[in-house]
């Protein structure tokens, strides 16, 4: 147990992952960060992107988070995601459609709030697509 860290990934819609890991990679607001066991306490905001968890045994697992917050304590990592999904469950068609919608919304005349919303939507869709493409490359 000494060289693993407990990872919990939860979103408002449910618990996505809970288990030990050797290493976790997370999309923090200011760049991707890697968290190893016995990391110093850290509180960070997350942007839309991919969370990669390396379990003690077996293959790396990949999750999508649509922004949220991250808490790190020396023995545990808690990801409080706004939305989250297992990478394998992502729907490419839905992501493409979401990107299209967001782009159309940005092209039209909109106020500041709507623009911020559309930009966030666009970022989420782009992150999903990136993740889907990366997974596809790995699988060959």
């Amino acid at each position: 147990m000494a060289n693993t860290i407990h990872v919990d990934i939860v979103s408002a819609e449910g618990e996505i992952f809970s288990g030990p890991a050797k290493m976790v990679f997370l999309p923090a607001a200011e760049g991707e960060i890697g968290v190893a066991p016995r990391h110093a306490p850290l509180l960070a905001l997350l942007k839309a992107g991919e969370v990669r968890v390396q379990p003690p045994e077996g293959d790396e697992q990949s999750f999508y988070v649509g922004g949220g917050a991250l808490e790190v304590q020396p023995t545990k990592v808690t990801v409080l995601a706004d939305t989250a999904a297992r990478a394998a469950d992502l729907d490419e068609a839905a992501a493409l459609a979401a990107r299209q919608r967001a782009e159309e919304a940005l092209a039209g005349k909109i106020d500041k709030l709507e623009q911020a919303e559309a930009l966030a939507e666009l970022a989420r869709a782009a992150a999903q697509l990136k993740l889907i493409q990366r997974l596809r490359k790995i699988r060959g």
């Binding site: 919990d8 939860v10 979103s11 408002a12 819609e13 449910g14 618990e15 923090a28 607001a29 200011e30 960060i33 110093a40 306490p41 850290l42 509180l43 960070a44 905001l45 949220g68 917050a69 808490e71 304590q73 023995t75 808690t78 409080l80």
Partner: protein
Amino acid sequence: MPGTKEIRTKIASVKSTQKITKAMEMVAASKMRRAQDRMKLARPYAAKMRSVIGNLTQANPDYRHSFLVEREPKSIGIVIISTDRGLCGGLNTNLFKNVIYLMREWQQKGASVNLCILGSKGLAFFRRLGLPILGSVTGLGDRPHVKDLIGAVKVMLDAYREGKIDRLFMVNAQFVNTMTQRPLVQQLLPAGSIKDTELPSHWDYIYEPEAMRILDGLLMRYIESQVYQGSVENVACEMAARMVAMKSASDNAGNLIGDLQLVYNKARQAAITKELAEIVGGAAAV
């Protein structure tokens, strides 16, 4: 002797009432299952959020967010989560009783009370008390959305920031099991500290980006998640309470029908006996 016709009509009317209560019971049962699933899914997030905020209150940041600082409670706010519809047993009544106790307790300490009410039953009840109601939402339906909740709750948060209220509570029904729902009073603000003995006595987080932005975002999410969890839980409680209430109503109707049937049979038998006696009496006379 009551006329057989009247009794028959009464039985028919009780039967149709029973049909209605039975249908409501079944609707509530299926809705309860879905509401329970939603509640279970939302629970880990709310729990994790609470523990993160609990750790946060133990940390020693340079920047003190107003949501974390204890103030002299001169005025308190209560977020009351009630149901929109009735016919759910004593669920709301029990909840309101607890709110009244809470209000008394603080009023005795000299604090004034402000309310924020979710659900029309709560609104109807607390309007009569004449206390200031800062915000309210009704008609949330069976699937409350964070977006609908946040407007009313934001009013309370603004009041807290401006110093109009110094403490914020949330009261909702807690789902224990189908038969038991318990009123639950929670302090939302200032965020209560949960003692965690593992943590060293003096430490602080690394913040990325700066503490102010994170804490603002995190604490807003914290309140949202707690209120959302509260209202989802309340819906599950409402459905469970309604199911139980309607079940006992159906059972009562069944008993009532049984009793009426007995009276009806007796009356019918009495009428037959009387007729027979008249015939026999008539035959004897001839």
